[in-house]
């Protein structure tokens, strides 16, 4: 009953959405809640964030990003628009593929930022790896700004993802 191509396609879409909510939810938590709240927290209470909450949140954040991109690529492959989306639907005259393609590229940039800029710098900033106080300061700034870049890109990325099925698929 469940073993149909359509059901598996739906199952990967469902997993893609679940992992995407985990990823972008935690990204927005960092940018809308944790970072603005840090200056208001007394110094003696700050380790609760930097030593306990932030490392756990970062774990689910980066693996949420990984799960989102893997399930997204599988979904695009199963749905038959992966190659068209990678070339942004250019020449195919299918608005849905252009929209999902642009969203995929934005998501891929964000995934790269998470794994290769934010996480290595957060490891220094949080003291997970050894770093001098100056290196920690630079690392925290780099990670924070890159996280802001991802917050900025999340708005057009979600526009592309949602409009692919709910606007461009209807209007062509």
């Amino acid at each position: 009953m469940f073993v149909t191509h359509e059901w598996w396609e739906f199952a990967f879409r469902w997993l893609h959405i679940i992992s995407g909510v985990m990823w972008i939810g935690l990204l927005w938590y960092f940018n809308f809640v944790q970072t603005p709240s840090m200056p208001k927290i007394p110094d003696e209470q700050k380790p609760a964030i930097s030593k306990v909450i932030a490392p756990t949140a970062l774990f689910w954040f980066r693996w949420g990003a990984m799960a989102t991109i893997i399930t997204g690529l599988i979904l695009a492959g199963m749905s038959g628009y992966l190659l068209s989306a990678i070339k942004l639907g250019i020449g195919d005259h299918v608005g849905k593929n252009s929209a999902i393609g642009l969203g995929m590229w934005l998501g891929a940039i964000m995934w790269f930022n998470v794994w290769f800029i934010i996480w290595p710098n957060q490891k220094k900033a949080l003291g997970i790896v050894n770093a001098t106080p100056d290196e920690k300061k630079v690392a925290a700034r780099t990670a924070g700004l890159t996280s802001r870049v991802n917050t900025m890109l999340s708005v057009p990325m979600l526009y592309c993802m949602a409009s692919a099925s709910h606007y461009f698929a209807i209007t062509g």
Binding site: N31, G89, I90, H93, G95, G101, L102, L145, Y159
Partner: protein, 66 residues
């Protein structure tokens, strides 16, 4: 002739990131001289730029699929 054109194209592609870096560095220094903050330090401006980029994305999608 073709080798020369290929080398020029390859050189231009290789140097483009450097030009972009110069533009960004120049903009950053100019911004600092004027005492302007990085817009990404403001959450509101970050989200606003995101909405502008969404409008740009809509135009790009329409252009790509035309």
């Amino acid at each position: 002739m073709r080798d020369c054109a290929t080398r020029s194209a390859a050189s231009a592609i290789a140097e483009t990131p450097l030009y972009l870096y110069d533009v960004i560095a120049y903009h950053n220094n100019y911004r600092k001289r004027l005492g302007m903050k990085n817009p990404l330090d403001s959450l509101g401006q970050t989200v606003l730029i995101g909405f502008i980029l969404a409008a740009v994305a809509h135009l790009l999608i329409s252009a790509f699929s035309a």
